[in-house]
């Protein structure tokens, strides 16, 4: 479990993290989302015990990171931003260093070492210098380091940054598998990742918590939630007809590909009536889609709004 209580960090006059209170339970994968410079990494560094909070507290598995730093650090696996590691060491040397630092008995240490190397598919690069590895491989070495002691709490700062789609998929699967009984906090600015990984999202900007919801709840806040979009050639007539439907709030036409999006009034479902109308008009619709909502739009809306009040799920 990770708990922060009014966690605050100032750099001079700048408040990087502003009274952040979150609580992540076992089984949750919480995505910490925010624009660059929002305070994601600073918050994580405080939870990891690298930076001292200006005020407020953070606890990992009930251990206060300032008062019981060693216990908190033992419970935590942490991948810092950019996955730093000692470049002059080989992957094997580096991971064995971590094994020693984590205080393993030799037997147990070798077992975990082998398991993690296999899990992250590092067998072939074990004897290579970390400096010579690609960005993706270095990230995997960093992940191996973080999960080596099989921690109950995992905190990953941009775990898939710099990975290709296949590697991203592999890392997400790994996190999925680990998520079952663990507490996981990841930071990201990739919205697709939120869909793929997280069952809870916290959005912060300028150090303040702006939203705390599930991905579906966030999508429901989007203007596009429940909207129907379709492509149909020669549909000029039907646009007017659609506009006259009582449940429809607005209609937009994409100027590039002519795709039409019909927005419902709040709380209305319009897929059925739109379909019926199109059929009655005898229009040939090549494809029709019910929109779930667009996270990027909600993200923009939340993080660029002037009022910094914490939002509640819609």
């Amino acid at each position: 479990m990770i708990e922060t209580d009014q966690l605050t960090r100032c750099y001079g006059n700048l408040t990087a993290v502003d009274a952040l209170s979150i609580r992540v339970e076992p089984g949750q994968v919480l995505g910490l989302l925010g624009p660059n410079g929002a305070g994601k990494s600073t918050a994580m560094r405080m939870i990891a015990g690298f930076l001292v909070p200006t005020s407020g507290t953070a606890r990992v598995c009930g251990h206060d990171v300032s008062r019981e730093p060693l216990k908190a650090k033992r419970a935590l696996g942490y991948l810092p931003e950019g996955a730093p590691s000692y470049g002059e060491m080989t992957v094997r040397e580096f991971l064995q260093f971590i094994v020693r630092m984590r205080g393993f008995k030799p037997d147990a240490g070798y077992r975990r070492f082998d398991a993690v190397v296999q899990q992250l598919q590092l067998e072939e690069v074990l004897e290579l210098c970390i400096d010579t590895l690609s960005k993706g491989l270095r990230r995997r070495v960093g992940l191996a380091q973080a999960i080596l002691h099989d921690p109950p709490v995992l905190m990953l700062d941009e775990p898939t940054d710099g990975l290709d789609p296949n590697q991203k998929h592999a890392v997400r699967q790994l996190i999925d598998v680990m998520a079952r009984e663990r507490t996981i906090l990841i930071s990201t600015h990739l919205l697709e990742e939120v869909h793929a990984l997280c069952n809870r999202v916290v959005i912060i900007a300028r150090g303040k918590l702006l939203a705390d919801a599930t991905p579906a709840e966030l999508e429901a806040r989007s203007r596009y939630h429940g909207a129907v979009s379709f492509s149909a050639p020669g549909s000029g007539m039907s646009q007017e007809m659609l506009g006259r439907l009582p449940q429809v709030a607005a209609i937009e036409v994409d100027p590039l590909d002519g795709r039409i999006t019909v927005f419902p009034k709040p709380g209305e479902r319009i897929l059925g009536s739109v379909e019926t109308l199109l059929r009655e008009q005898g229009l040939e619709v090549s494809e029709i889609q019910l929109e779930r909502g667009r996270l990027d739009e909600v993200f923009r809306q939340i993080t660029t709004a002037d009022s910094g009040a914490a939002g509640s799920p819609a």
Partner: protein, 244 residues
């Protein structure tokens, strides 16, 4: 395994993986030899001891120890590995001691590798080997103090160059502060008691006392306390960095 020894092993390995260790050993051994014979008048003195050899050590350490210690923390700060290291379950003291012992053992190895000169002097005459052992001990203790200074000042900055220059500067001050020329220069301006106190801070004075074969507790304490003091200051600096 104990985190101190884990950090120490990692540091030592990184000396030998990068050219640092070899460059240091070669330069140290070559310079120690050349200076002893040409500047120290090893033969012309006609005495079977290693005084000219040990007399060169403070000046060798002055350049070579900061070259080893400058990267100790500055490199970790710059490369981001400091965040990795300090979020592993170890205290700042353990990290500092691990790094310190690695450097100190390494200098110890360099000293051991000067054994040919000890064989030479035993071949040429019959020196007092007890005094020579004391000289090695004194030299190693002095190296420890220099390393502690370098470790502390490396924690101060992200720049290895700045760490090198600051460490060399502090070391040269501590060598020179007890020299008669320096003391004479200040004798008019400062009270006599203060001058005497300052003279006791001199690294050279304590080292020379031990190297003459006189093992005085006060000299040993001087080196021990200066190591602890500078390492403590380094730990405090690292801790301060986390709050700033």
């Amino acid at each position: 395994m104990n985190p101190v020894s884990a950090v120490m092993r990692r540091e030592l390995r990184s000396y030998f993986v990068t050219p640092v260790a070899y460059v240091f050993l070669v330069i140290f051994l070559v310079l120690a030899g050349i200076l002893t014979f040409y500047v120290g008048d090893f033969y012309e003195r006609g005495q079977a001891d290693l005084q000219p050899f040990f007399a060169m050590h403070p000046w060798l350490y002055l350049i070579l120890v900061p070259a080893i210690t400058m990267r100790m923390w500055a490199e970790e700060s710059k490369g981001g590995t400091l965040e990795l290291l300090l979020t592993l379950p170890l205290t700042l003291w353990q990290a500092m001691l691990g790094k310190f012992f690695a450097a100190w053992l390494f200098i110890g190895l360099a000293l051991v590798l000067t054994f040919p000169i000890w064989i030479t002097v035993n071949y040429l005459g019959s020196p007092d080997n007890g005094v020579i052992v004391a000289g090695y001990l004194g030299s190693w203790l002095m190296a420890g103090s220099f390393i502690a200074i370098g470790a502390c000042l490396s924690a101060l900055t992200r720049s290895q160059v700045v760490a090198f220059i600051l460490s060399a500067l502090v070391c040269v001050l501590l060598i020179l502060v007890g020299q008669p020329q320096v003391l004479d220069f200040f004798s008019g301006a400062l009270p006599r008691r203060l001058i005497n106190a300052v003279a006791h801070l001199s690294m050279l004075r304590h080292f020379e006392a031990i190297a003459r074969g006189v093992l005085d507790v006060r000299d040993l304490l001087y080196f021990l306390l200066s190591m602890i003091g500078w390492l403590l200051a380094g730990v405090l600096l690292l801790d301060l960095k986390r709050t700033r």
